[in-house]
Subunit: 307 residues, 4 copies
């Protein structure tokens, strides 16, 4: 890792395969991670929202990171999600991530207690003061119910507090302003989009990379899309996104499920159907997809030549 | 504690006094708790939203509960907040609360990951299966962004999964339906309102008690109001609420602060001004109220004969 | 009407019975209105949210008000909803209401275009300057997505801009502050609650009256509840609310319908089943309740001796 | 206009210049419209959110459309916003638009009354049945608080109910799915983005055009961007967006104003400073930008060579 942690490219948030007893399914984890690294992804993000961070207790979190870093074996930089409600709790996770060998940490705005921009800014400044790892600000209002505005992100970047932003805000206008302001400020931040369905537009705007959950299922097209972006082949960037999005209908062919059950549930069901992970076990209290929902996902995979 | 944990009366969510180093200020904690017990409150709730649960790391949480239970010394039943994102994380806190001597635990709907009623119901059922303590469902959508509907609460009560509800939802219509349905179902639940400004209306509807943060500052009127309710003296119940609400303007005389900084910040500033706690230290990343805000709160206290 | 329009008591928002061709069903309207007046209601509110104001075009709105005022025949004061997006459009409706004989008008915060408190305040001030009728501020964030805070309402009341507030905000804390501040200010405002399920609590807090949609179906208990309030018989106020709320389950026994279809749809279905209105026709694009939903409402009415 | 109203290109929502008496400033309107047509825009949209539709009473709306169509003089297709709460009110506006010579109408999901997808679908179907003009569905949740999902839009397009979508939803994922589904369905819909800051990404995804309010101030770059898109010159499409976005900071250099006052207020202030419109008069109850806010906008214009 360089002095400045200038992460670029495709950095999937890694799904955590579970055994039926809710510990890490290590054999599946190895297949999943090695398949993505073989496809050429440029980094890995453990303990993201996709990686069950909110569900895993501390021992389980440790296992997810330890095994993941062991499997990755230094082939790419590793980000670790340090997700918790407020500053002092995040710092505990950050210290643990550092011990386990993370190259950078991912931190959301504080949540649960109500606050404003003052608290968000102070939160990142304190963590930066106490933790000696690059910090990616994880902008995910749908989970934390607060938005990190581009002006604050740039300020924190210029002050060296944060090294990048992982944008899962769904606010493409804010992201575009952030990219332009970052360029004008000398590019202090690595800007990664988490919106796997519109990566083409984010690349056109000048993003530094993407964090697509769907790359767990189909890593190659995302890597090819990155290469096409680097080559300036925009028709190809768009065409690959169109292909990717056909597979993404695993999210919307299910019924009777909402949120995590339908999102990460679709990933696990697809990966299990494709033989990459051995169980579709979901973290408590979420149930696995079954019956018609499982069949509908299988059909999407067949229609796209993945089964 | 009886077989059925039928908590009734005034159960303040206890403010956690901090030393400047962000550990518990034990001397202040003793004054605060003893003052409320001397006033006659009927229970204490540690590690509520008011009690810094979202800010304290695990060691700090332990200290808050251990010292609180030591000070209370068995005089009233003790509720402990086991607040975390999802099921397995909550269970860790619940086990710790049990070891430390809690009489009941307080658990919110799961948060951070998106879900629906299926996940909320399963969450409480799993915790009930694994933890041998009465569970109070903490309905606080402003923090967890999910609502526990009265029909689900009643179902969980009739099945013996939860022992009560602490309602901080701001949804007085839902609360009233809950009270009526609870009576029709044989009163399986203890129903406590967290809305300190409208306790009179909640009592009229038939609530079993209240969890007023403001009782940290003015415990006596809340106890007197409970006694008036038990005596059926509604004019007095209302009159006391009017007096209480005058003091509650400590929440709205500040400016430039939002959320926790203005809410619990007002409690700490008032308690500090009144000489009950030694420091107005707020948990990171929140700042203490200063200058004109502190003066404005002092003026409210003076206007109400508290300073 | 007195100089100061001090409306007190039960003021139902009148349901608009429709013929199948979506004009006013005058015969049904007469039965509905006369039944409420015979029961002793203290005012009538035409063109509320319940009264189809958002659905009726201008000619239809005129017919609703003209026929309503003719039927009421001066027996009680008449409020007319002048609901439209922004100031100049509201003023057109207000002029028409005045021509048709309204005693007061009901006006929401501006909606559709985004604004803040500055625009809300200016909106009411302009309307007051141009219209010579008492104005009730209609606080209904669920429809207009803006809240009228109690401090602004009091300011507008003290300046003589508004004569009252019809609170459908679901924010019982704000309402209680409003009642207390109104008393301290010399009672410039008539404060009416629109929350038919918790009228007892609103009366205990000191409300001047209620605007219960459910009084279209069961006017007597609301009038009796008002009388009990005036007599200080709080046990009776609460008991009547309990009885009312049993009937209110017509709102939650339906399935597959949301919003207006389930709310005003339940009123029309109940009134039609009870023989008070001849058709359950709903305004376009809303459909009438059918089949199992209609039967479920019939069962609630039977259980409560209304069928 | 062809049988199928296949609108493509840049279709600005036209700002309505006001005289101080709040009627249309016709001389300014002529300069504004002619300047955009001279720059090569491909259509005009009167009575959009930007065009004061929510503020103008019916007589004012008529004047805005009549004068606009007179000035445009058949040079491009004309869309007219028929924005009102529910179906029958929208139909009144649609009939008027037809009489005044609109080529197509723009209709939102119903608002004010609460509903669901059933009501949204029925709303568009009824209007289509009764009005003989192409309908553009205006997806603007920030104003109407309901979202038109891509699956519903495609269904309405395939059934010939709507001719296009004007997307101001801020939901780029939904828009991308809509574009792909539209292509697979044989392109029944003209898909226009209203997000002036990210038009480049929308074009890359395959949008049929844009509806940028900022084109009132700077029409040329948007037309050049469209031409670059048609030529497949993506670097130029992106570069022009970057330039456009620098000007767009007129939205965020103001302070103390929110919503319409800061958005359309910025347009009017800029157009007034540039000498294109004679007054910066805003519709009631909104105030014009003044003092430091006006100066800040002037500075943005100067920095971008527009003043």
């Amino acid at each position: 890792m360089s002095e400045k942690f200038a992460l670029r490219g495709v950095v999937p948030p890694v799904v955590t395969p579970d055994l039926p007893d809710h510990t890490v399914d290590v054999a599946s984890y190895e297949r999943l991670i090695n398949r993505m690294l073989d496809a050429g992804v440029h980094g890995l993000f453990f303990l993201g929202s996709t990686g069950e961070v909110a569900f895993a207790n501390d021992a389980h979190r440790d296992q997810i990171v330890r095994e993941g870093i062991r499997i990755a074996a230094g082939r790419v930089p590793i980000l670790v999600g340090c997700i918790d409600t407020e500053t002092d709790r995040v710092i505990e996770h950050a210290k643990r991530a550092q011990e386990l060998g993370a190259d950078g940490i991912v931190v959301t705005a504080p949540f649960y207690a109500l606050g404003g921009l003052t608290e968000i800014e102070e939160h990142f400044r304190i963590i930066h003061d106490e933790i000696d790892l690059p910090i990616f600000a994880y902008d995910i209002p749908v989970c934390v119910h607060a938005k990190i505005p581009w002006k604050l992100a740039i300020k924190l970047g210029q002050d060296g507090v944060i090294a990048g932003v992982k944008d899962s805000s769904g606010d493409d206008v804010n992201f575009r302003y952030l990219v332009q302001a970052n360029n004008k400020a000398g590019h202090p931040l690595s800007l990664l989009t988490g919106h796997e369905i519109v990566v083409d537009g984010a690349y056109l705007s000048g993003a530094d990379g993407s964090v697509p959950g769907l790359a767990n299922v189909i890593p190659e097209p995302y890597v090819q899309q990155w290469d096409a972006f680097q080559a300036g082949d925009w028709a190809r960037v768009k065409e690959l996104q169109d292909q990717i999005n056909e597979v993404s209908h695993i999210f919307d062919v299910t019924s009777g499920v909402v949120g995590y059950a339908g999102g990460v549930g679709a990933f696990k069901t697809a990966l299990n159907l494709m033989g990459i992970i051995d169980h579709d076990t979901m973290p408590r209290p979420v149930r696995s997809l079954e019956g018609a929902n499982r069949e509908a996902i299988a059909q999407v995979l067949k229609d796209n030549g993945l089964l």
